[in-house]
């Protein structure tokens, strides 16, 4: 059986050349392998890298970078469901980060707090408080990532555009080891669960890195969740400081059968503890991918 490797990227890949980006992923993977004195076991042309970065970038392309978070939490062009989704995810990030109302109030510029539902100014203050409290965290990145996940989950057009590249890269006659990162883990999971079996795909190992599937609003949108039938083993790795992933995918947060193997001691060296290079260059992560390909 032919074996191939597929990388499914997450956010912040826009305006990058797909080939260069693939090169960055492979370099990080190689770095991780070198820690076990290994090198790639397959040729680079058997590493597939479906690229959809521009699809998401276009969603907020007309907004100045410093305004992106504000625009998203304000949700002027969003419907109630979208605003509620963004609110729910940001609240959960805040809860996980242990940020108190007092810390938020300290960065908020509001003299008064309404007793009704949360307003966007408060949410914006939550993001700023996260930035100030969590090393390397970026409020804008959290808002954008949340918006991306929402668009993928609820906008069929965007979903199809993103998934089309993955469908094309899958080969029914090949074993495909899939490595997803961030939003890419949500995309690959959703597609594998929905179409994997009927399409005859074979995925001996699914690796999720910095995966936000344990976040309540995301998990609920995809419920009922289950182990994709076309997937053999599922290996999840995270740095517990990763503010996007938030949780391991364990019995408490993502109780599917068979259960997911979690590695929670990754030391992601990237600034926000979420970057792909800081995951792929981990010795054990790289070795697990390597082992599934030989």
């Amino acid at each position: 059986m032919i074996k191939q490797l597929m990388f499914v990227h997450g956010r912040a890949q826009e305006k990058k050349d797909a080939a260069a980006l693939k090169g960055e992923w492979i370099a990080a993977f190689r770095e991780g392998l070198s820690k076990s004195e290994l090198d790639l076991s397959i040729s680079e042309n058997m590493i597939r890298f479906p690229y959809y970065g521009q699809t998401l970038y276009d969603l907020v392309s007309n907004v100045p970078p410093e305004k992106v978070a504000q625009v998203i939490v304000k949700g002027e062009n969003a419907d109630e469901q979208q605003r509620a989704f963004v609110r729910a995810v940001i609240q959960e990030v805040r809860d996980k980060a242990g940020i108190t109302d007092a810390e938020i109030a300290a960065v908020a510029e509001q003299a008064v707090v309404t007793k009704g539902p949360l307003n966007w100014e408060w949410l914006h203050a939550v993001l700023r408080a996260i930035e100030q409290t969590v090393p390397g965290a970026s409020g804008a990145s959290i808002a954008v990532a949340t918006n991306d996940v929402y668009q993928y989950l609820f906008n069929i057009g965007i979903r199809d555009a993103i998934e089309e590249g993955i469908r094309k890269a899958m080969q029914p006659d090949a074993d495909t080891v899939i490595v997803g990162h961030s939003l890419g883990t949500v995309v690959a999971y959703s597609l594998l669960r929905r179409e994997g079996k009927s399409s005859g795909w074979k995925v001996p190992l699914y690796v999720t890195l910095g995966c936000p599937l344990g976040v309540s609003a995301i998990k609920r949108a995809l419920a009922p969740n289950r182990h994709p039938e076309c997937v053999g083993d599922w290996f999840n790795a995270l740095d517990v400081r990763d503010i996007v992933a938030l949780y391991p995918l364990d019995e408490d947060t993502f109780p599917i059968t068979p259960s997911i193997e979690n590695k929670i001691d990754v030391n992601n060296q990237t600034e926000n503890r979420h970057g792909i290079s800081g995951y792929l260059n981990d010795k054990e992560v790289a070795k697990r991918i390597y082992d599934a390909l030989i």
Binding site: E80, Q81, A84, F85, R87, A88, L153, S216, A217, K219, R220, A221, L222, A223, P224, N225, R226, F254, P255, I256, T257
Partner: protein, 585 residues
């Protein structure tokens, strides 16, 4: 497939008699669930054997399962006391003294659709009799599924009821012959007893045999189970108690278009039983109000008025006679067919003594209080306005006055059974209506009478046929649209409600409150009246996040038992103040 069960038993509530078979039923359900291989963590038993059962407990158990995000099928089973105030309520230990200590079944269903569980089945083994007494009427109940702001797509939710609406579910002496000799009688819950037999695979003819990994298993599919329960429960009752016209139990169900084939139990079949031929049991469908209603609605939608009339005149037994006579009566036009102003109300079965409205004139014509003309229609700022009609017994109803339409109100025994809108003969709409009048009246009468008796059901095909039939001219029949909205919501086809709303808004410039409530679109625009016209809408307000105007908050406690919303004197006073102050127009 990950399956879960929440099994609730409440034998004692308020001052109602303690039920004898609750504990045994819940325990038997739990044993069955365990035998099915459900993860024990996913079998949650909440029973008053362990202390009072509260709404909070049920919410916690369900929330726990929902939050897992992995459950494909949940069975929520209840056995205990229940009643019906326009919709179902399961009574928990603290009811009716605590108005929240009941399960608002309809509201919970709406939230369950969006909870992320792949398929939720409510199984209700309790009475659906009308609530009696002011204390019972105040029960509002709780929605026991989480009110999450975000979820994925709508998922199917189905219901199995132990009995028809307005009827009791029974506990029956297990062995009547033995009971005579024994000092202590033992009881069984008839419905749960039969249900469990099917779930355990004791009725082989109901199982769908499939081969899996070289062996055979029997799957009990939901629609088959429901059909069998409808036949077997009355038969079992008859076998136990003999024929007694006063004691009946006819199970009911509401199963969606995609889940009839879903299985709810899986039973291994031994090799020896595979060899034995399965002899299908002849199961002719008994004639019930449900089956007659289905037939009448379907014939009227097909335009076959000859057969429709023939069925109305046929002797089908005492059970269905009420439905037949009510349908025939509703189909008969009554009162004036036109007003000079093209707008008004006509009433049968009650007497209107005064009206309350703003911006338009209303005249009571004659001395019978049954013909009410609306004047100044041409000068309406909007083509519709609310009018409060006050009856001679002090009760009252708010009905929108529609330009070019006469609203016909039918009262029976103090309840408002139907409101139908027909174009006034002198309106521009009349000619188009006339060509379809007989057919539309038959559809409306079939649906109105069936709704009032709680036996109206529509399948997907019927829903689409109704959508076509209710159209005339550039719009749709306003009263049919109201009934259809609830039917579409029951079918989980709120897209069709949205479609109807679009028709009404473009044709009449309004949305009825009920349609806005059930629609997926924002509750904005001109919405009349300020609360549900049909009483069944009240149970859905919180689940669909609808609010009443500030001046009418709490008015639900002044509703009277009636298929269409009707208020007592106290409610009438609140509405009158709201209209006169200009808050309601």
């Amino acid at each position: 497939m990950q399956r879960a069960a929440v099994l609730v038993g409440v034998k004692k509530t308020g001052n109602l008699p303690e039920l004898q078979a609750v504990s045994s039923s819940v325990n038997a359900m739990a044993l069955w669930a365990k035998a099915q291989g459900l993860d024990e963590k996913l079998i949650r038993v909440v029973s008053d054997d362990e202390g009072p059962v509260t709404a909070r407990q049920l919410k916690d158990e369900i929330e726990h399962l929902v939050d897992r995000g992995t459950v494909d099928q949940l069975i929520l089973y209840f056995t205990g006391h229940g009643f019906n105030i326009d919709s179902e309520y399961w009574l928990l230990s603290g009811a009716p003294r605590d108005t929240e200590e009941a399960v608002n079944v309809e509201g919970s269903i709406r939230l369950a659709r969006y909870c992320g569980i792949g398929h939720v089945l409510f199984v209700s083994d309790c009475c659906r009799s009308a609530a009696e007494g002011l204390q019972a009427l105040q029960v509002r109940g709780s929605n026991v599924f989480p009110n999450d702001p975000v979820s994925g797509t709508e998922k199917p939710v189905d219901l199995l009821f132990a009995c028809a609406r307005g009827k009791p579910s029974l506990e029956v002496v297990s062995d009547p012959a033995k009971a005579v000799a024994d000092a202590v009688r033992s009881y069984s819950a008839l419905y749960s007893e039969v249900l469990l037999e099917y779930l355990k695979g004791q009725h082989e003819d109901a199982l769908d045999r499939i081969r899996e990994d070289g062996s055979f298993v029997g799957l009990l599919r939901l629609a088959i189970l429901a059909d069998n329960l409808k036949i077997e429960v009355p038969r079992r009752l008859k076998a136990k108690l003999g024929i007694d016209l006063k004691i009946t139990q006819q199970p009911d169900d509401r199963i969606g278009r995609n889940t009839g084939n879903a299985w709810v139990s899986r039973v291994p079949i031994s090799p020896s039983r595979i060899q034995a031929p399965v002899i299908p049991v002849s199961r002719s469908r008994p004639v019930t109000p449900f089956t007659v209603s289905e037939r009448l609605v379907s014939l009227s939608l097909a335009g076959d008025l000859t057969t429709w009339n023939e069925i109305l005149g046929r002797d089908l037994g005492a059970q269905t006679a009420v439905l037949q006579s009510a349908t025939a009566a509703q189909a008969m036009p009554f009162g004036p067919m036109h007003f000079e102003t093209g707008c008004g109300f006509k009433v049968r079965g009650a007497r209107v003594v005064r009206t309350v409205q703003r911006d338009i004139g209303v005249e009571l014509l004659g001395s019978e209080g049954n013909v009410i003309r609306v004047t100044g229609c041409a000068d309406f700022p909007h083509p519709v306005l609310n009018v409060l009609l006050v009856l001679d017994n002090g009760s009252g109803v708010v009905v929108p006055a529609l330009r070019d339409f006469i609203a016909g109100l039918t009262f029976e025994e103090g309840q408002l059974m139907d409101v139908n809108y027909e174009p006034s003969e002198n309106s521009p709409r009349w000619n188009e209506y006339l060509a379809r009048a007989e057919e539309l009246r038959s559809v409306r009468a079939s649906i109105a009478a069936s709704t009032a008796l709680g036996v109206f059901r529509l399948d997907e095909q019927g829903g689409l046929a109704l959508a076509r039939r209710m159209q005339f001219g550039k719009g749709i029949d306003p009263s049919l649209a109201l009934y259809a909205a609830y039917a579409y919501d029951g079918l989980q086809r709120r897209d069709l409600v949205d479609e109807m709303r679009g028709y009404l808004e473009s044709d009449l410039g309004l949305t009825f409150f009920d349609i806005a409530l059930l629609s997926t679109r924002p509750k904005t625009g001109r919405i009349l009246p300020p609360f549900p016209l049909l009483s069944q809408g009240w149970a859905l307000l919180s689940a669909y996040r609808a609010e009443l105007p500030a001046s009418l908050r709490g008015i639900e406690q002044y509703r009277l038992p009636s298929p269409w919303t009707l208020f007592s004197q106290a409610g009438v006073d609140m509405i009158e103040r709201a209209i006169l102050s200009g808050e309601i127009r």
